[in-house]
Amino acid sequence: MSTQTTTTQGLVAEHIGHHYLHSRVSTEVLRDVSLDVAPGRTLAVIGESGAGKSTLARILCGLERPTSGQVLLDGATFRLHRGRVAPVQMVFQNPVGALDPRRTIGHSIALPLRNRPRRERTARVAELLTAVGLEPKHATRRPSRLSGGQLQRVVLARALAARPRVLVCDEPTSALDVSVQAQIINLLLDLQKAEDFACIVVTHDLLVAKVLADDVLLLRHGAVVESATAATFFTAPASEYGQDLMASSVWTHLTKGGS
């Protein structure tokens, strides 16, 4: 169902299925989901709540093992190894919970750099803060002193510190203000151009997907409904569900035209 030739580079998910067992009741969350993202390209996984998007995001990072199917990174089976810095990093929806509130920003960003000498760590933290648009002096501050937008930049800085091959973003802007959302979107676009990582953006917001994605994967109740390039999907979705989603988006009529 993929619309581009599968490459061995980048992230590939094959026939991912997942269910939860709770009090002997099995709930299926994902069913036969396959996708691939090449380095430098962005895939948007869209769908409503309950579609299984967040579970998929966790599986792609290796935080959870799928009950069936496998994830491949650069051609090899991918697993999260305890004690090793992961090549697939994650950006979370709520930046406030994504950082240890009792530790400084610098400490959190330097987490993937633990094995480096101290002087190198400090320099790299300053470098990363600048790359995400923050002043290096923020390294000694606690998360409570920063705004939501600034915190999300810190989260990005920490992800970058690990020099990831893949970045998985779970609703990266839904907790942010409108003007801050634009800044973070721009930052994601810039960073991807500079670092060339594969990017997966999980979102319920069609317009976030539209501005960020090269390709689109539409999920519903854990199954893939449509897989297309962003250009195709946003001009004319092939599936009925896709068309319904586009129609019910409250934004469909408001444009910047006018002044």
Binding site: R58, C61, G62, L63, L80, R82, G83, R84, V85, A86, V88, Q89, M90, F92, Q93, N94, G97, A98, L99, D100, R102, S108, L111, P112, R114, S147, V155, R158, A161, A162
Partner: protein
């Protein structure tokens, strides 16, 4: 500052004094508790320095009322100085409760962290042990223990710790379970942190304030248990001074020599009060750190 923080500074401010003294005064419980504790500690040390051996008997001065024969608090049936005994007893109560709280908090926190973080069969096994422990009434445990081992300060501390670790484990387990789900823990895993590192560096600090509050609130109970058991003869015995023991000495003399029961009794109340005030104050402070709603 944001709208929320502007509102919350107005809400929690209590006047124009600056710095830590003002904050402490704002927490009246904490302030009173700490002051009381300070008075008891300093007072007891001064008294034990002046009158070092409370178990010394002076039979010729037995049952002296307070203020006679050089006994400000009177003397007991064996001529022991009640004031010196109270001071030493306060110290004993303090040492025992500090030790018990430390041991049971450490052990309970360790169990709670492991059970809450790993879940699964480990959690199930540990929680069954907790259930077993809860099924045994403490007094039975103490009675049974007293038939096996000789009552002593050390044994009492061990016994009270065994009886007291469970609440810490449960509270820490619950807090760990909720904290474990937060994204920064997942981020730590992705950054290459192992289980031990996450437990010690991230989760332990997260439960620290809860432990502190629980510990200070429990300390009062430990003092009561120690006094009660010593009263029954199952706890601390002379020459080690215990407030409960002195109370038991005077229980048949309540109408004639009231000071033997009443004054150590007041000492027990003061110690427990100090711990409770501190515990309440800490708990209120921990609650204030939560976000305020507009």
């Amino acid at each position: 500052m944001t709208t929320e923080s502007a509102v919350s500074t107005a809400v929690t401010t209590n006047g124009a004094r600056s710095g830590w003294l003002r904050r402490l005064w704002g927490q009246k419980s904490l302030f009173l508790g700490c002051s009381l504790a300070l008075i008891l500690i300093v007072g007891s040390f001064i008294i034990t320095w002046i009158r070092p051996d409370p178990s010394q008997q002076h039979l010729e001065y037995a049952l002296s009322p307070p203020g006679t024969n050089g006994y400000p608090f009177g003397s007991d049936p064996l001529g022991r100085d009640v004031l010196a005994w109270c001071a030493a007893g306060i110290q004993t109560a303090g040492i025992v409760s500090a030790a018990v709280v430390l041991i049971s908090a450490t052990f309970g926190a360790a169990v709670g962290l492991v059970a809450g973080y790993f879940g699964g069969w480990l959690d199930a096994v540990l929680m069954r042990i907790v259930d077993l422990q809860l099924a045994i009434p403490p007094i039975l445990l103490f009675l049974a223990a007293s038939t096996i081992v000789e009552p002593s300060t050390f044994n009492l501390i061990v016994l009270l710790s065994i009886a007291g670790w469970v609440p810490y484990a449960r509270v820490v387990r619950t807090k760990t379970q909720s904290e474990r789900e937060r994204p920064y823990i997942a981020a730590a895993r992705l950054s290459g942190a192992g289980h031990l590192r996450i437990l010690v560096t991230n989760l332990l600090p997260a439960v620290a304030s809860t432990l502190l509050v629980l510990g200070s609130l429990s300390a009062g109970y430990v003092v009561l248990w120690e006094s009660g058991l010593s009263f029954l003869g199952l706890g601390i015995r002379p020459p080690r001074a215990s407030l409960g023991y002195m109370i038991s000495q005077g229980r048949n003399l309540l109408t004639t020599s009231w000071w033997i029961v009443t004054l150590p009794g007041i000492a027990v109340v003061l110690v427990v009060l100090a711990f409770n005030l501190i515990g309440d104050g800490l708990r209120d402070r921990a609650g204030l750190d939560a976000r305020t709603d507009l």
